[in-house]
């Protein structure tokens, strides 16, 4: 860039020199007419909004400044003076556009006011949200093949589940025991039962009242995942928590 500008400058110089040399050989003919008055400079315009983020119902102040403009307007407000301020109360996020014109040109400037939406309505009463809270907080635990022992990892999971349940003492729930597709239907029904009961007993040991807990085994009758892969089988060897209305 720097190089090309230098080059350009050099070209202009060379041309000027050539003109000067050629002009030297000519005689002065007549005095040229006076040049017309120079056109006015192009207008300038700036527009700012302060603050530029508001909550719905609040106002923002637009401030604008122009120079050399003959025709100045702001979209949504109309014609305005060369400089000034205006209060706006947009209901949704709006981009304000300042247009300053004169015979030499047009200059624009924009300012955006972002409107935060009104806050969500007040949360529904606590009971209706229990089911959702339960789903969000109660994590299922998983088992090894043919096992109903709760490993250390899932003891930690159950401890978090237990603290949620302690914080929400009115919630009652069912623990479903599930198994993978391998092996006999009847044996898996008993195995799923043992898994559900193991989770129940662990929660009781963590201080959750037995009266809040139901259990049922679904054996391999209601798989979460139906492919014959270890990844899928692992998903199906679980104790699953279900909120009771």
């Amino acid at each position: 860039m720097k190089f090309s500008r230098t080059k350009w400058f050099g070209l202009v110089l060379a041309l000027a020199a050539a003109l000067a040399v050629s002009g030297c050989g000519q005689k002065k003919v007549a005095t040229p007419p006076p040049p017309p008055p120079p056109p006015p400079p192009a207008p300038t315009a700036t527009l700012t909004a302060n603050p530029n983020t508001i909550n719905a119902g609040q106002s923002s102040t637009l401030t604008w400044k122009t120079t050399d403009a003959t025709d100045i307007s702001i979209d949504g407000i109309g014609k305005v003076g060369p400089s000034g301020t205006a209060q706006v109360v947009p209901t949704e996020s709006t981009t304000y556009r300042l247009v300053a014109k004169n015979q030499s040109g047009t200059q624009e400037s924009t300012a955006r006011v972002t409107v935060n939406p009104p806050p969500a309505p007040a949360p529904p009463p606590l009971n209706a949200g229990d089911a959702q809270l339960f789903m969000d907080n109660m994590k299922d635990i998983f088992f090894e093949y043919d096992s109903y022992d709760i490993s250390g990892q899932y003891t930690a999971t159950l401890q978090k589940d237990a603290s949620f349940l302690q914080a929400h003492p009115s919630i009652r729930f069912t623990i479903e025991g599930h198994c993978d597709e391998r092996g006999s239907t009847e044996y898996n029904l008993a195995l799923g039962d043992n898994r559900a009961l193991a989770a129940k007993n662990a929660l009781i040991a963590m201080g959750i009242s037995a009266s809040r807990i139901k259990t049922i085994s679904y054996g391999k009758e209601k798989p979460f995942c139906t492919e014959s892969t270890e990844a899928c089988w692992q998903q199906n060897r679980r104790a699953h928590f279900v909120y009771n209305q």
């Binding site: 043919d146 391998r182 092996g183 006999s184 239907t185 009847e186 044996y187 029904l189 008993a190 195995l191 039962d193 043992n194 009961l197 259990t215 049922i216 085994s217 679904y218 009758e221």
Partner: protein, 441 residues
């Protein structure tokens, strides 16, 4: 029952259990050469006003029943003389007892559809006994319809099988109970032993498992999900509705009738882990049989004595087959490796069939196959070899046939086979079909 048991002992004692492999090679001819039986199509008398081809249904059903029996070598129809006999006077013994048919026995007869009734006369001739060939002569008359054409064929087949099969009753009139999901839910269904007449029994819209029909065929016990969890439920086939049965806490499942119909054994987690209990079939006097932490499920009574129960237990890890006295004493482990489940005790009391993944673990293919074990010697033979998961074998009352489930062709379907693993025949095709239980006649 007693007569049946005696016959069963006589028949099955004819091979040595110490060499079960040898027996399997000799097939269910049970060490005896199969009887060459000729069964020409029954001669058609009147066949009026019928849109259904009842003679064809009758002839096909009779042939299929005799072939499925496993004790006959049916002589191909291309060897028969021209002109099938319809009555004894038509029979020329020399046409049958010499090559090409070279038959030992001839089953023949006639049928007619007249006045809305199907009439059948059938005979069984010992064609090698020229002095007194007639073994059997029967006559049947029922309303003319497809079902009755099949029924009469089944009855006549069972008469023949009973006469020629060492006194063991045939199974052509028996039914098989099973679970099917074809309605969208797992419900109890029934069908004829050959897969015909499949019919939904329960309509609970929940999950039904493990149907087990009472020895007199009047009730089906099964496990179902109720508002109280898994409970033993009782369906009366006579009343066509559920009848009450006591409920217990926990998961209650895998009911099994004793062969005298007086008791049921089942698994219950009433105490906190799945143990076995027995209870009067009226629902009274529950008795605890096992008490250990591992799951105990799937009891099956020794139907000859009702003094023993075989079952599945996970008390030492992977499930294995055990036996015990029916009061819970004298627990003995039967299998020593792998994953062994779903035992069914043979009518003669001598064998268990069960599903076994013998070599379970990393690197093992893990196919579940049906095995037959001689309980006294612990000798066993593998009956299925066609891949897939084979499970829930159930003995037919003749002790010669076994029905089981397999997913070898994709979806789980029911198959029957002879007790040596031959003559496999697929019985179901619609939906997934599981947990068959073979009823008595």
């Amino acid at each position: 029952m007693k007569r049946f048991a005696i016959y069963a002992v006589l028949i099955l004692a004819s091979f040595t259990c110490a060499s079960a492999q040898d027996w399997i090679r000799t097939g269910t001819g049970l060490g005896v050469e199969k009887i060459r039986l000729a069964v020409p199509d029954f001669k058609i008398g009147a066949n009026e006003g019928s849109t259904q081809n009842l003679p064809l249904t009758f002839n096909q059903t009779l042939w299929n029943d005799l072939e499925a029996a496993g004790i006959f070598d049916l002589v191909g129809k291309s060897f028969y003389p021209l002109g099938a006999p319809g009555v004894p006077q038509d029979v020329r013994l020399k046409d049958w007892n010499q090559p090409p048919p070279n038959a030992n026995m001839l089953a023949f007869g006639n049928l007619s559809v007249q006045g809305g009734y199907l009439s059948v006369q059938g005979w069984l001739f010992d064609v090698k006994n020229e002095q007194s060939p007639q073994v059997l002569g029967k006559q049947y008359r029922e309303e003319a319809n497809e079902g009755n054409a099949r029924l009469i064929a089944h009855r006549f087949a069972d008469e023949i099988i009973f006469r020629l099969g060492g006194g063991l009753p045939g199974i052509a009139e028996t039914k098989i109970y099973f679970i099917s999901n074809r309605s969208g839910h797992k419900e109890v269904w029934q069908m004829d032993y050959d897969g015909a007449g499949q019919k939904q029994i329960t309509h609970n819209g929940s999950i039904a498992l493990s149907p087990h029909v009472s020895p007199d065929g009047s009730r089906i016990a099964y496990a179902g999900v109720t508002k109280d969890g898994w409970q033993i439920q009782m369906w009366s086939l006579e009343l066509g509705r559920s009848v009450s049965f006591p409920r217990f806490n926990g998961t209650n499942q895998s009911p099994a009738w004793s062969s005298d119909g007086k008791s049921l054994a089942f698994a219950s987690s009433w105490s906190g882990h799945s143990d076995l209990y027995s209870i009067d079939s009226s629902g009274g006097a529950p008795r605890r049989l096992t008490n250990d932490k591992g799951p105990d499920v799937s009891p099956t009574w020794n139907p000859k004595t009702n003094a023993q129960i075989a079952f599945v237990s996970g008390r030492t890890g992977l499930p294995q087959i055990y036996t015990m006295a029916s009061d819970g004493t004298n627990v003995t482990r039967v299998t020593d490796q792998g994953y062994a489940v779903s035992p069914s005790w043979s009518p003669n009391g001598q064998f268990l069939v069960f599903a076994w993944v013998r070599h379970y673990g990393p690197g093992a293919p893990g196919a579940s196959d049906i095995y037959l074990m001689d309980i006294a010697s612990r000798q066993f033979v593998q009956l299925t070899h066609d891949g897939g998961r084979n499970d829930f074998p159930s003995w037919a009352p003749d002790g010669r046939h076994i029905v089981y489930q397999s997913n070898r062709s994709g979806r789980t379907q029911l198959y029957m086979m002879l007790a040596d693993g031959t003559q496999n025949r697929q019985l179901t095709t619609s939906g997934e079909n599981t947990q068959p239980n073979w009823g008595n006649k």
